[in-house]
Amino acid sequence: MLPTLSHEEILRYSRHLLIPEVGLEGQRKLKAASILVIGTGGLGSPVSLYLAAAGVGHIGLVDYDVVDESNLQRQVIHGTAAIGELKVESARRRMLDLNPGIEVEVYNEPFTSQNAMRIAADYDVIIDGTDNFPTRYLSNDVCVLLGKPNVYGSIFRFEGQASVFDARRGPCYRCLFPEPPPPGMVPSCAEGGVLGVLPGTIGTIQATEALKLILGIGESLIGRLLLYNALDMTFDFVNLKKNPKCKICSAEPEITELIDYEAFCGVPGHDHDEGSAGKEWDITASELAERLKNGIPLRLIDVREPHELEISRIPGAQLIPLGQLAGRLSELDSAEDIVLFCKAGTRSARALEVLLSAGFRKVKNLKGGINAWAREVDPSLPIY
């Protein structure tokens, strides 16, 4: 039995009620529906705003992060006044301001193998708006095991992907991507950046697909992958088929319960750019400043991209972008003390591995990167 709509709700949703494909019954379906949004960041912002505005009766939000100034270029559900506040609380406030007639349940915790089944169990549709590989595989597996649709969206720089993975009716995420890329091979948005409006495009597509699933109308993205490139302004579609050898959604699955996704992907289940190469190989900004002050000779190598020098630089550093390092080892001397740095320490930790595997030993990673240097040593530099 679908819930009824009050006069206020009929007025609020009148533009929906005018569409024959939605109508009064469709709007009542939306009111009865429950959708879980994993991640309240770039994708989760437009998804949550539009689902709330559309009158989805019960929306769950999972995120454990707080709003940071660097989020606001794209995470439009949060405002400047919310900096430092829990993302789920900031988002809930905005959603209830937009539509006080809905319920917003917040889960201020990381989405993990321990809580994922419990959290997702009560929802009709799951929306994957996470920012890392472990949580993407987790969201997929939860949806396959619980028999729920997983509305997928993913972004990087100018490029976006979207699909609906529903293993009961089509392929799952693992059918397309059986294994994650090796750690470090695919940069994250915190490392590589993202055009702020891109998650708006992909997130609204995810919200559209979720609403269509609830309403039972149109052609969904099940069995299709949308590829959007904002730079080229192209939309491509490709066909996805169920992989008969899929480890979780095939007839004889290898995976029958949730696994350790951080171990599976070899990376942490978040996209915080705070790189460390491990205690043995790290040097702090203060330690580096002390060494330079004392005139201890060392070679300072900046592994960022050339355009990042316009933001901040450490005097005396030589630029060798990470992607070029393996081909430019002849410029370095393994007898010298070398300190590698990048924005926040992730790329330089990878650069350190490149040097270690080439036989270098007198090499250190600037923990926290040039941002830590700006915080601890040279406050005249901006943090980005």
Binding site: G39, G42, D131, R136, P187, V194, D232
Partner: protein
């Protein structure tokens, strides 16, 4: 000859281009010619044993080459290959 579309994360390895016209009568030949012309791409497409990396998906037109004849899939003049990477940003 086919046109292969390279996704944003791999464009730094091909001097920032997006689409490349590469000679070859099969998907595998096009890939070989591609990484020959742009050696920095090799490790992103093939593993150490020379096999396609499992997170790299290649589509000929709208179809995954795994649903066709894999890297042996024959090409016609003007075919378009899409290289689809795993991306995780959100």
């Amino acid at each position: 000859m086919a046109t292969i579309r390279i996704p944003t994360p791999l464009r730094p390895y091909i001097n920032g281009q997006s689409d490349l016209d590469i000679a070859g009568e099969t998907v595998g030949q096009v890939l070989e010619n591609l990484v020959h012309q742009y050696p920095a791409l090799r490790t992103h497409i093939f593993n150490d044993n020379g096999e396609l990396r499992p997170f790299v998906n290649l589509f000929l037109g709208e179809d995954n080459i795994n649903d066709l004849q894999g890297i042996s899939t024959p090409l016609r003049e003007g075919d378009r290959i899409l290289l689809i990477p795993s991306i995780a940003g959100g």
